[in-house]
Symmetry: C3
Subunit: 320 residues, 3 copies
């Protein structure tokens, strides 16, 4: 594996999920594989779960890890070509990526969208340039439009908690928030679930209020509902997540109905497991009674981030 950016970089979902679950059983089985190899983690935005879980996964494979926090002020990167750099940016991504590729065997990079220019964000210009100029395998630690390590961990979590022979009904439910959040996590979860549905693993429904439709390229094959209660009927997993509007790009549109999942709404489901990528705002996005209740998987889901990252890193090391 030379790149882990979207679901398209994985040829068979079942195989990588199985590999992750084997690693969970034997975390140190490949601790020689990464010896003398270095993982560089580059954060243009803050990170808690992604950073710690990926660092942990790399260490369990025997790798050394170097973390680089490059926030906007300290080291602003230029991504545009053909402009004289006489402004605020101090280094072009061409050089920054190529240099980091000199020091690392595998790189990971996180860069959030600005949520101002949809075309720019959805071009994934920064990730693509970083990947093409660094010369080593690259893992997305969340890009403008996707968060594939999260989605793989989510799929692992669903697989782990579903033992029945029939396919589970998975519902991704939009949730309220006071800030405009990217579509990266829901886009990514949706493209992974659509693919899982195509591979016969799940039935996938997305529920969101009017105005919150995701880009169609991420939702091919999903059932779309505009009422939360209807979508929840028969749900085995509810994946709660806020996102800002894709059509009115980056806007927080007014929503009248109650979209926060609480115990009353949870009772509509088929005793569903509840997931959230975290961080979660309690009693705004998701009721505390659900988060603290027995159906919540959120902590174990976060724990599975390690095995998602380790499976991906292992494949990159295997190929190297």
């Amino acid at each position: 594996m030379k790149q882990f950016f979207s679901v398209a970089d994985v040829s068979n979902l079942s195989n990588i999920v199985d590999e992750a679950l084997r690693l969970k059983q034997a975390p140190f089985a490949y601790e020689q594989l990464g010896k003398r190899r270095t993982l560089g983690l580059v954060f243009l935005n803050p990170s808690l779960r992604t950073r710690l879980s990926t660092q942990k996964a790399a260490m369990q494979l025997g790798m050394d890890v170097m973390v680089m926090n490059m926030d906007k002020d300290g080291w602003a990167l230029e991504t545009r070509d053909g402009v004289a750099m006489n402004g605020a940016t101090v280094e072009h991504i061409r050089e920054a990526a190529a240099v980091m590729g000199q020091y690392c065997d595998v790189l990971g990079i996180r860069s959030f969208p600005k949520l101002q220019d949809r075309e720019e964000d959805y071009s994934e210009d920064l990730f693509r340039k970083f990947s093409s100029h660094c010369g080593v395998p690259v893992i997305s630690l969340e890009s403008a439009t996707r968060h594939p390590l999260q989605s793989l961990a989510d799929l692992i979590t669903i697989r782990e908690h579903w033992l029945e022979p029939r396919k589970p009904k998975v519902v991704m439910a939009w949730a309220p928030h006071i800030k405009a959040l990217p579509q990266a996590v829901p886009n990514s979860f949706s493209e992974w679930m659509c693919r899982a549905q195509a591979e016969g693993m799940v039935d996938f429904t997305i529920a969101h209020p009017d105005g919150y439709a995701l880009a169609e390229s991420f939702t091919q094959g999903a059932t779309i509902a505009n009422t939360l209660d209807d979508a929840l009927v028969g749900a085995d997993f509810v994946y709660v997540k806020n996102w800002s509007s894709y059509n009115d790009y980056g806007q927080v549109l007014p929503v009248k109905e109650q979209w926060m999942l609480d115990n009353r709404k949870l009772a509509i489901t088929n005793h569903a497991n509840v997931m959230h990528c975290l961080p979660v705002r309690r009693d705004l996005e998701l009721a505390s009674e659900v988060l603290d209740g027995p159906q919540s998987l959120v902590i174990r889901e976060a724990g599975n981030r390690v095995w998602a990252a380790q499976a991906v890193l292992k494949r990159m090391l295997d190929d190297n």
Copy 2:
């Protein structure tokens, strides 16, 4: 040992000091003990000595270390229960702690008091919630009211530098400062020294100006003096430290007398060793002539932070 938060978490002071001194003689004697174990260090406030010494101690035990700087702006944690998180906080400590516990075998956390609401600070709400939700052993890297790794290092330093059969007289002397500092270090030193006094190791005196009495629960058994010169008579160790008022909570009260230890005042003592937890403001808290003089132990005291942390980590690994 499942928690290291206060002196109450140590059953016998002599034993842990002896263990620390043995580790100082043979730093790598247990370098297999921590293999494949991860220590996570979470800083909500800046740290120099605590971070480096604890990291060093963990590495000497063979552990991997992940450091997480979570300052107020980047990742503000909610600690209150029962509030809708529609403000500035982005994650609740319940989730943050539980998630970090998924990635680490031992956690350490630093969080200073706000010095605005005494009851809130002295409830140690943040540390307690972090500890109860993370699911793994937790070391305080300084909390609102205590700094136990510092106090253990201080006790090690006193033991190391006292070879006479009689008990040394230890004086904690308030010192001037221009900022309002927490009571964590003096509270903690006092509760450790009161316990050491109870175990027959030292005689302990606290000297402070009017209005600077610490909370009584930390000073049981200590002799209290309100005049520096009187307290210094016969002192074998002088522990210099500023703190803000506990009664007029967090206030810097005017003090007329000269409370900065200089060579003239040091001459009153029994050729005392001088200690300070650092950082120290020269010629404000403590005279340069003392800091640079032959009786100053401050650098060796800072060096002993490694062995304090290593003894605590070793106990946590032993029990795990």
Copy 3:
């Protein structure tokens, strides 16, 4: 080697370059040498290449690495002696250095000049005090007036890319910038090249506009040109770098002529290799057509930072 601060700390340039190139061939040949030893990297200013390459070099020698970012706000260090610290600084460099020396076997420190008081910057007060108080070997990670790890990497790069028997002509060419940059990189490159010239390795020319002469102590033996085109004739290596004025200290003086190296100017040279320490502002300091062209060595030059650091660290470990 007890200190790596300037070219004067290296007794023979050829020997250390050869050692670095051997390490490049066998990066892990000495991976036992640094076992149980800790490198501390202290950054008072941002760093990308220096931090990652030095960290990588240390890990390849088996060392543990602790990185400490101490920016101005978080942990302002006092360097002056004899002042009461009742202002913004929270710790004196005497204590900070001595404490870090307690935790580390080798230390590196980066501190940029303020570009306000030439005498203060050129006294190298901060580096000298840090070095004299920490008690362990110290590597400059760029100080007020020098950047020796960069210069050693530059010399390695020249050696690697010059196979002819005659000496190459090396030209350091001033380049435009919109900000006032330190003289550290050009000072350092110049003192290393003057020394390399004295050892018979290169012919060295510096080209800069009027008003941009460097301090004479760094340029002894160099040919000085005030016209870029003249200097480029016969050049085998062009080292592009901006710096602010030394005479009008820290000022950006107006320059009328075109000083940015582009393909037209590059054609004047003897098909020269082009170097730059990075970060580089494209089409301001250096034309994109040159950076992206076949004569650019900038990425390999950055890659060689690892071997420069590893050769220096190896010498410090050898002597320890």
